[in-house]
């Protein structure tokens, strides 16, 4: 079903472009060695964070993401300049350079952080949901992780405890079909991951993770179920990364034509086509991209001008 060329759909497109351009800029900064260390990009997967965050109330909800989390931070509303600064090790970074690309957080925007231990944030999200039972916030916790995390014990423990206690957690699997460098299909008997929801007695929904509108609808239903006290929900969003697991990943483990084929169904292509079919003009669509490029470029300039993290502060905040 084509999206109507609504402000919502145009805002979705803007959200996709902001993440895409942010990640492209990060690639350049990493290749130029201005960013150090491992960087995991979400190029191709942008519709999942944009759709899911649109379904949340980030004044009270809590998002827990993975090291492939720049897009999630942006979709939550983090300042792109602060995110660039974090990756660049600058004082103005979201975490003052202490987190880097893979462990950053911005709780002022409901982004309780990336996590660099696969699946470890699922129990923490359960704790955030548990708190909601006592603090009257009505908070829903969203834990997003990859297909590989579905084989982590901590994720099982989290799903079981959330189900047993009817806690408001959306467990969202971004299934890009690769658990780091290994196909998920080779690591499970049945790669229909959402079917596991039944084992926990919770609802499970599959969604095309390249369709931002579909993601928003499915996650909104999950959030409603959580908010109304019906307990956790598992959502599986199928998507793909158009890049390696990390910058520099040669991807020898992927069929040669797989990425090329995926370009036809990636979220920006899908939404742009739908908007065009619904009557949006090229100028309008180009303007969305251009605004995102201008915003992100300015953010990078701001971040690159920021002072480096201050070594004199390295011993601060170990304890209260």
């Amino acid at each position: 079903m084509p999206h109507p060329p609504t402000q919502t759909a145009l805002a979705d497109l803007a959200g996709l472009w902001r993440i895409r351009v942010f990640e492209e800029t990060v690639t350049r900064l990493r290749v130029e060695e201005r960013i150090a260390g491992s960087v995991h990009l979400c190029i191709g997967q942008e519709a999942v964070p944009v759709g899911a965050c649109a379904a949340l109330d980030l004044t009270r909800d809590a998002v827990f993401a993975t090291y492939r989390g720049h897009g999630w931070a942006l979709a939550c509303g983090a300042d792109p300049a602060a995110l660039f600064a974090e990756l660049l090790g600058r004082e103005t970074g979201t975490n003052g350079g202490r987190a880097g690309s893979a462990y950053l957080s911005d709780p002022g925007h409901g982004f309780y952080g990336e996590n660099s231990i696969v699946g470890a944030h699922a129990p923490i999200a359960v704790g955030a949901a548990l708190a909601a039972r006592y603090d009257g916030s009505g908070r829903v916790a969203l834990a997003v992780f990859g297909d590989g995390a579905m084989n982590q014990g901590a994720v099982h423990e989290a799903m079981n405890m959330a189900s047993a206690f009817d806690l408001p957690v959306v467990f969202l699997v971004e299934n890009n079909r690769y658990s780091e460098l290994t196909p998920i299909a080779a690591m499970v008997r049945d790669d229909d991951l959402v079917s596991r929801a039944a084992a926990y007695g919770m609802p499970g929904s599959w969604v095309n993770g390249n369709d931002v509108g579909a993601v928003r609808r499915v996650v909104a239903e999950a959030v409603d179920a959580c908010r109304s006290g019906r307990g956790p929900v598992l959502v599986e969003a199928h998507t793909q990364r158009l890049v390696g697991h990390y910058i520099g990943d040669a991807q020898t483990y992927r069929p040669r034509d797989e990425v090329e084929a995926a370009r036809a169904t990636e979220p920006i292509v899908v939404l742009t086509s739908a908007l065009r079919a619904a009557g949006a003009g090229d100028a309008e669509l180009s303007a969305v991209e251009a605004r995102a490029r201008a915003e992100i470029a300015a953010a990078a300039v701001t971040a690159l001008a920021a002072p480096p993290a201050d070594p004199a502060t390295v011993k601060e905040h170990v304890h209260g």
Binding site: A154, E316, V318
Partner: protein, 328 residues
């Protein structure tokens, strides 16, 4: 002041924390309706309702749940039934809880208390017997204490709960029901940290913690009859560790021994010795560590007695520091 057991002191501290702060939660395996496998959390469910609850046998979910609830502003107290079980979920303590404050520059915190208990008791198997405090103390961001008396079981736990960082309180299963003492339950809640000199002495300073305190105090009495005066310091907290109290004592006695039930290699005793030596304290004898040798812990009582230093072993080795020629 009425005498209560160590376990009752823990229970009283939990009751006070739950009463004074509605943001306090207590959860873990079998802690609520059954009242804990050692009876430590009895009656708290009845008094505090759903703020006290049982969990699945899921240490990652328990500890991760505590991290998440603490990040949201609550003050969870969780029980890891045996310290050995913490290894099932070390990630949640070391990679998660301990990082929250530092990596967020204090925008997020994890004010959670992890109660556990450790040590060997007759028949306890190798997976329910280890003394693992050094593993926690190695991790910056975690605080670690080991109460050895009913009063400290009460005071240290309340200090831990009041701390704005993750604290591991390592209780003693051996002492839960065997040790009674007067417990003042009306005092102000103390901050974390601080050693206690349990016995003043002039010939030798002994640093210890946990139930080994009582073995050391017995050994000190044995040595007293030999005319050797032993100062006994209960570290109570190994993070933060009260180096000043130890250095002050060793500066007077010139001799330092550290006694712990944990294994020798990499044990916290090595850290205590290093800290004192690094301060340049003048010693009249080489410092001594008395610890369980680098063994696994056997179940049979006779084997446990052979593995873990008891009163006579401790007394003999301490005496050798003071009078090496006569005991070598």
């Amino acid at each position: 002041m009425a005498e209560i057991t160590y376990a009752q002191a823990v229970n009283a501290a939990l009751r006070r924390a739950l009463s004074e702060d509605p943001g306090t939660l207590l959860f873990g395996e079998d802690v609520a309706l059954p009242g804990g496998v050692h009876g430590v959390t009895r009656r708290l469910r009845r008094e505090f309702g759903e703020r006290v609850f049982d969990t699945p046998i899921s240490e990652s979910a328990i500890l991760g749940g505590a991290v998440g609830a603490a990040m949201m502003g609550l003050r969870p107290i969780v029980e890891i039934m045996w310290a050995d079980f913490a290894f099932v979920a070390f990630d949640q303590l070391i990679n998660q809880a301990a990082n929250v404050r530092y990596v967020s520059r204090g925008r997020l915190t994890a004010p959670m208390t992890v109660r556990t208990q450790q040590g060997a008791t007759p028949g306890s198997c190798a997976q329910h017997s280890q003394s693992v405090e050094a593993l926690f103390a190695h991790v910056p961001g975690l605080r670690v204490c080991l109460p050895a008396t009913p009063q400290d079981a009460y005071d240290l736990l309340l200090a831990a709960i009041g701390c704005d960082d993750p604290v591991v309180v390592i209780e003693s299963r051996e002492l839960y029901h065997s040790l009674k003492g007067p417990v003042d339950q009306d005092g102000p809640r103390a901050p974390i940290g601080g050693a206690r000199v349990h016995r003043a002495g002039s010939d030798l300073s002994v640093v210890t913690w946990g139930p080994m305190l009582h073995t050391v105090l017995e050994a000190a009495r044995v040595l007293e009859s030999s005319g050797v005066s032993v100062e006994v310091i209960d570290a109570r907290w190994i993070d933060p560790f009260d180096t000043d109290t130890v250095v002050d004592s060793v500066s007077r006695t010139g001799r330092l021994a550290v006694v712990h039930a944990a294994n020798l290699t990499g044990g916290f005793g090595a850290e205590v010795v290093a800290r004192v030596v690094e301060r340049g304290v003048s010693l009249s004898a080489p410092p001594l560590r008395i610890a369980t040798e680098d063994l696994r812990i056997p179940a049979a009582p006779a084997l446990q007695r052979a593995a873990i230093p008891g009163r006579d072993t401790v007394a003999g080795r301490l005496l050798s520091m003071v009078a090496p020629a006569t005991t070598a």
